[in-house]
Subunit: 382 residues, 2 copies
């Protein structure tokens, strides 16, 4: 059911293009996945997402289990049917969200206990349970439950989290395969990805990458780099991890979506990304200019600006509205403004990824990257 075909390798770096096949169709890599936390990419309809260029979306297991619940979604035939998205879906395990509930969660070797932020009731997630939930959601790619240690964790804490994550992956695999060791129904319809952890400790990252590389899964994820990463550690970790991972499987760098980080990661062999950047920033009024620099439409200098956000952009916002009007909508909290900036930012993002794919295909990725970084002043990580 799952197949990863590498279509082109960059001769000067580890960048590559490929196609990943899932039960709900294929997507081209490198790929960017917009985030549909509660079964909708905020403000957007599925047909709008496709128009912008989305090929796969991400659903948040933690949020969907809280509301409306995986059992209800299963009753609708799964998340695809429920939200009317017929392309591939990846779901996370919910681990990252649970670990963000710093005060109200308790981790044991069995799983993680927490109180629902919705109604305060006690919940307990185990490696098996998060897969059962994702099975009900019916996503094409499921993630293991992992313990995501904070970026400033001590080595002892990081090591303990890694041991647990490894053990949880073993339990996940057990569930993923049926008792006879044959691919189960789940396996045939849903890919399972393990997650490389280890904070910024080279030996832990190496150990974790080796473990994940040894598993019979259709792809591998790298976690823990979106949480307050610092540039040098981020690059060093990718430099350590990527060469260990099998080159014939897609590599998914979780939660990283800053354009310059995407370029650095693709250069090191990453194939999949997800991030709230384009959609969340849009709702706060930030839009991507042609160079990738972000500007805030609320700035009063846009008040009387009759130009579109980007003059030759093909998106619905740029084809129909001026910066001045969009500024007015954002300042007035009009939903249409948030929608249009979301459409614009996603269109920019998918166009950016498409341009990267083209540059790899045409053997000019390095110059594309250098050119982009020279032009762009990315103001998010600063």
């Amino acid at each position: 059911m799952f197949e990863f075909k590498i279509t082109r390798k960059d001769p000067k770096s580890s960048a590559r293009t490929g196609v990943f096949y899932t039960p709900h169709g294929s997507f081209r890599t490198p790929v960017f996945m917009p985030i549909g936390t509660y079964g909708a990419v905020k403000t957007m309809s599925p047909s709008e997402l496709k128009k912008c260029g989305a090929e796969i979306i991400l659903g948040n297991t933690f949020h969907l289990e809280e509301r409306p619940g995986s059992t209800l979604i299963e009753g609708f035939g799964g998340l695809h049917e429920f939200m009317n998205w017929d392309g591939p879906i990846l779901t996370d395990s919910g681990g990252f969200q649970v670990f963000s509930l710093a005060k109200s969660r308790k981790i044991t070797d069995e799983g993680v206990e927490f109180r629902s932020p919705l109604d305060g009731s006690k919940r307990f997630l185990t490696p098996k349970k998060v897969l059962q939930i994702q099975q009900k959601l019916g996503s094409d790619i499921a993630m293991q439950l992992d313990e995501c240690a904070p970026a400033d964790a001590s080595k002892k804490v990081a090591e303990a989290a890694l041991t647990r994550t490894r053990r949880w992956m073993e339990e996940s695999l057990e569930f993923w395969f049926n008792p006879q060791g044959q691919p189960s129904g789940l396996n045939s319809k849903q890919a399972l990805f393990p997650i490389v952890q280890g904070v910024n400790f080279p030996d832990l990252r190496r150990e974790s990458a080796r473990f994940c590389a040894s598993l019979p899964t259709p792809g591998i994820a790298i976690g823990g780099l979106a949480v307050g990463e610092a540039k040098p550690e981020f690059l060093r970790t990718l430099d350590i991890v990527c060469p260990i991972l099998p080159s014939n499987k897609p590599r998914y760098l979780m939660g990283v979506g800053e354009p310059r980080d995407i370029l650095e990661a693709i250069e090191r062999g990453i194939d999949m990304f997800d991030c709230v950047i384009p959609t969340r920033l849009a709702r706060h009024g930030s839009f991507f200019s042609e160079s990738g620099k972000r500007k805030n439409i609320r700035n009063s200098k846009f008040k009387t600006d009759k130009k579109p956000l980007i003059s030759d952009c093909r998106c619905e916002a740029c084809q129909n509205f001026s910066r001045g009007y969009l500024r007015h909508l954002l300042v007035s909290n009009e939903i249409l403004g948030m929608r249009m900036l979301t459409i614009h930012n996603l269109t920019w993002f998918f166009g950016f990824i498409q341009a990267i794919r083209s540059s790899i295909r045409e053997g000019r990725f390095s110059s594309f990257k250098a050119n982009f970084l020279r032009k762009a002043v990315s103001d998010f990580t600063k």
Copy 2:
């Protein structure tokens, strides 16, 4: 520039169909105008509005003058250009909104003084000033400044408001015509409607209707019936006012949009309506069922409901999503849910008005009305 053609008269009532021609194209009557308070019908793009069936929209002068200001909009070439709506636009005078600021406004014969709800600064609106603002907005139909007395006003208060409204209309006409009595630039591009007031006092309403009927304007509005009207007074007032108004001009009943009220008003000869009902209710989760009865999608009985809002509805919401999914979106405060219910409610509303026009054209308005009222249990005014 403005012409009203009556295309069909109902033989059994005062209902009629017609076409009103404006500089931005024509609209068919009876017509329903959705409300674009801040230069956008909330959540909707202009192309979506057209898809739903909108032929003319309403802009709120008071709100637009507060934000972003008519001078800024004029700089964009007017409201049509600013918001990218190329069909007809009607703007109100802002009077109704100012009079709603009960505590912070002071009425004199010259106009009304109030404090801006945005920044607390003093504002002063006069009959001439509201027309100048509407001129800058460039709407096709402008409304006079009127004093909208409350529904429970004493006769003395109502009479004073009426005298002022009449005087303000005379000043408005003076501005509308140039000093030579020839149509001014404004006149050629923008229609001016006077407003019949008089609360629920038959003699005041009669007097006001006679005055408005005597004026050389392309249409006439009836105000003060949307504010806490009671059924019998509402009908009695229409029964008094409509026969006095010239039959060759469109009659606009301001702020009334309850389906059963629309039917009663059309029967008495009303041609134009505006109301927040379909859009505001949508954002709170109410949707129109086939019979016109409103249901709240948040109701838990819709949790697992796989049916669309209305099974044979052609709108984007019904073509793509189940009640269960839409319920989830509304409960989760997802913007997509508000959008889809807005699209559904507007589609229902325009379909309702279209069905009324067809019934008049085919000489079966009375039975259409009786049939609708028998089926619908309109729960808004109850």
